[in-house]
């Protein structure tokens, strides 16, 4: 699977250049306790002109998806039967709660049909299809911490069976008031506002975030960014760097300790984005950027109680391959391998 386009919208902005600026600037404390996307970041006039009644979730997804689509610069023939696979852990929950608000305030017979229409997980991707006039296969999936990983497995399946040659694969999650209440009840929100990705604790600190990432993946050459391998393909013995997708959201992170002797260098960039069950997409896009630029970026938070070899320099460096690893709370490993060629 070849990465031909990348799109991202997160707390600090939109686009891969914004991502690089954020990596260069390093850690920043969140405002209001989580890495929120401010309303001004939704101001993409061209896109939003056709999305007047869309909720923020749909806007978030559309902006990142179109960003990746434009970045890939596909030919007209390549656009035919473009597939779209979108993964989300919780979907547009603020919109669902807004609909429940309507039912409670106005009664079941006077709730907003527009709000209802946006409360389904796949509404967001329908806007993407409309914007690029794509008539190819389109799927939305939801698998909590495995969401993005399963999206890539499906993408690989579609490319293998030749259902598509090009696929927009993405992930997004939103935060919100009710989610904040739930996270306070169920997780350990960091008092100092810092995710500590290398603490590898049973009950790690969380700083919630929100955002969207899309990749345009192709079965065809040329490779613009890098190649992706998943599942049983990832047997490469040596990688230059391991990005651990640790942000506290998936619970127990002790499993990562078993990786200590397996890789020469470790990194994690989750403190740039915030904690999300779809964070693997964000960790992956950072690896993709590093391979494209042949550059490492210093990790934003260096607390390292287990003394693992950290990537703490921003410098040009020959990088051939990067592993991106996530464990779920039961210790099941998901590994994605990125390689230059």
């Amino acid at each position: 699977m070849n990465v031909k386009g990348v799109g991202i919208l997160f707390n600090r902005g939109k686009g891969i250049e914004k991502l690089e600026n954020s990596l260069l600037k390093g850690f920043a404390l969140p405002e209001n306790g989580y890495y929120k996307i401010s309303q001004e970041l939704f101001c993409d006039e061209l896109i939003l002109k056709n999305m007047r009644r869309a909720d923020d979730f749909s806007k978030l997804v559309a902006i990142a998806a179109i960003d990746a689509f434009k970045d890939a610069q596909l030919d007209e023939t390549d656009k035919e039967d473009l597939g779209i696979i979108f993964a989300t852990s919780f979907g547009p929950h603020p919109t669902t709660f807004k609909f429940l608000d309507d039912i409670i305030s106005f009664g079941e017979k006077e709730a907003s049909p527009t709000t209802f229409s946006h409360s389904v997980h796949n509404a967001a991707v329908s806007y993407v299809s409309n914007l690029i006039q794509n008539r190819g296969p389109t799927i939305t999936i939801t698998q909590f911490v495995e969401s993005f990983y399963q999206a890539l497995i499906l993408a690989k399946s579609w490319l293998t069976e030749k259902r598509c040659k090009n696929i927009l694969v993405g992930a997004a999650d939103q935060y919100g008031e009710v989610m904040n209440y739930i996270c306070n009840k169920k997780l350990k929100l960091a008092k100092d506002g810092k995710i500590k990705p290398f603490s590898f604790k049973k009950n790690p600190d969380v700083v919630p975030g929100e955002g969207a990432v899309f990749l345009l993946i192709s079965s065809e050459e040329p490779v613009k960014y890098c190649k992706i391998e998943i599942g049983s393909d990832t047997k490469k013995d040596f990688v230059d760097l391991c990005i651990v997708d640790t942000d506290g959201m998936s619970g127990n992170e002790e499993f990562y300790l078993s990786l200590k002797e397996k890789y020469p260098l470790f990194a994690s960039y989750t403190p740039i984005f915030g904690s999300m069950l779809t964070s693997m997409a964000f960790s992956l896009v950072t690896g993709i950027l590093m391979l494209k630029n042949q550059k490492t970026y210093s990790v934003p938070v260096e607390e390292n109680p287990h003394n693992i070899p950290l990537c703490n320099k921003t410098e040009s460096k020959g990088i051939n391959s990067i592993a991106c690893i996530k464990y779920n709370c039961e210790g099941k490993q998901m590994k994605i391998l990125l390689s230059k060629q």
Binding site: R53, F106, K109, E110, A111, S112, P113, T114, S117
Partner: protein
């Protein structure tokens, strides 16, 4: 039409224009810019079928008026004028 009814109709039109702009997120027009004979669907404001059912809910919530037969919808929802008159007739009939 009596002058009281004329005043009521004017109030309804003003409120209707504000509701349409705010609830349907019509970002490229102000309520004061919407003409009374502005066509609502297709051309004019360019509303669609999803907006139509949203307007039905707005009429219920803000005016207590039900649209009993959606087949009549095309006539009722033709313009601000026709919609306002429908509201006025049905408020009076309650």
């Amino acid at each position: 039409m009596s002058s009281t009814n004329e005043e009521k109709l004017k109030e309804i039109k003003t409120k209707l224009k504000e509701l349409l702009v705010s609830h349907l997120n019509l970002t490229n027009i102000k309520p004061s810019e919407i003409k009374d004979d502005e066509i609502l669907f297709g051309q004019g404001l360019g509303l669609d079928s999803l907006d139509a059912v949203e307007v039905v809910v707005l009429l219920q919530r803000h005016f207590g008026v039900k649209v009993k037969d959606m087949n009549e919808g095309q006539k009722i929802f033709y313009s601000i004028d026709t919609l306002a008159r429908y509201i006025l007739e049905n408020i009076d009939n309650k």
